[in-house]
Symmetry: C2
DNA sequence: TTAATTAGTGTTAAAATTACACTAAGAGTG
DNA sequence: CACTCTTAGTGTAATTTTAACACTAATTAA
């Protein structure tokens, strides 16, 4: 490595990487996106999509790039989760990982097995394979994070289709929070926030009363937020 | 840098550093600990205590070490805040900083101006000097974080003396949250959680009714937490 | 002795949360 | 076509939580 900068510090540097915890929802379980590794270490083992940070990209840009390269998913809004820096977290050498998470709709993306990747698949959180590195720990923390966040931010809408029924939204909240929610109270609360647009459309071909579709009203949310409104479930 | 590991990746690496946002409380304002830099860049300017991560320490260990080396403060529990990785955040070269924050009692520590440091001082948040790097942004985020956290974790007790009065605790919450709180409702709520030990001791030499001292009951908190209790202000 | 200052204490009204059960609509079946 | 199955959709009352509010007690200083 070049060292011609008079300020540059002299110590050996940890390598820097980013890992992505991508949550998806398919109506039932909450899922997480994993890739089967093509190379050592942990060759043929499942792991989070992740890779090294280039010198001219931010860690967030890196996370998005890697996600795209390895799984085909792009244009997702990721948020920083945590930076993991335990000395031995990677068997090769010292690697510090800045992790990110995102919530997406499983149906909206076509998965590919990209660079250094044998397979890319959704796994239910209740049925994860054994993971390489400290990735089980990272997923655990990401899950904790969204469980907390869901209460005071309207996340979760990203995991559904543009149009969704209130029951689907409730199922999502139940999946994330791992609790049962009362249908009437839930609807009262959500509709009371005036963040949903009621659409004229209804479900079709369902063997029961068709549910009305709603969509998330981003504009209303923005306006309310500017007026000091706080989302709270 | 040595490169004899067959797995080691080939790209140039960002340097890795840690910065510390240390909040203190002296009964009035909420304060933050700053150091005046002895060296370029930002020589003679104020900045957060920070420095480079050694290859054999975690970023958290680094933060604690740097804090001790530069300010004399040690034995504080820091929590990770965020990792800043904008390309140009340091004028020297690409440096990624993992930032940490902590809450301490200003009276409990004697400040020194340690390595590469001309002065170490507490600054009221309402009266910060111009800061080097992106440190103003880091402080802003740290403040946001503790404002959120204070509502669901009994942090803040760290900023007071072991023994404190309920009025002092209230003032602290008012300083962090920047709101006025009703005295009776505050006392009702805090005492209702049974996390405070009522001591026999009272204030002395105050020109008004002497207030009772309380201390935080860590044991009770631990036990309650294990029973599923959630602190909530 | 008086003035100044902060500690300490309860009640009531309003708002938010919780618990709870029936009718409506659509598709499938015999 | 009537019956069954399934999920959508709806309101009320009891309970709990929150918010608003004012006086007496204790101590020092003047």
């Amino acid at each position: 490595m070049k060292n011609n900068n008079k300020y540059q510090y002299e110590y050996p540097r940890p390598a820097l990487a980013s890992d992505c915890v991508i949550f998806g929802f398919d109506g039932g379980d909450l899922k997480v996106l994993l890739t089967e590794r093509e190379k050592e270490p942990f060759k043929n083992k499942w792991a989070l999509p992740g890779g090294f940070v280039f010198i001219e990209e931010t860690t967030e840009e890196c996370a998005k790039r890697i996600l795209h390269e390895k799984t085909g998913i792009k244009n997702v809004f990721v948020e920083q989760l945590f930076t993991f820096s335990e000395i031995d977290r990677d068997p090769r050498e010292r690697i510090v990982s800045v992790s990110y998470y995102a919530l997406v709709n499983t149906y909206q993306y076509e998965l590919i097995a990209g660079r250094d990747t044998l397979k890319t698949e959704w796994f239910a959180l209740s049925d994860l394979p054994k993971l390489g590195f400290d990735h089980a720990k990272i997923i655990k923390m990401a899950l904790q994070r969204i469980k907390g966040k869901v209460n005071y931010q309207p996340i979760g809408f990203e995991l559904l289709n543009e149009k969704f029924t209130l029951s689907q939204l409730q199922q999502l909240y139940e999946a994330i929070l791992e609790v049962q929610i009362d249908k009437r109270n839930f609807r009262k609360k959500i509709l009371g926030m005036a963040l949903l647009k009621e659409l004229d459309e209804k479900e079709k071909n369902v063997a029961h009363k068709a549910a009305r579709f709603y969509s998330f009203d981003k504009k209303a949310y923005k306006e309310l937020t500017q007026k000091g409104f706080y989302f709270e479930l």
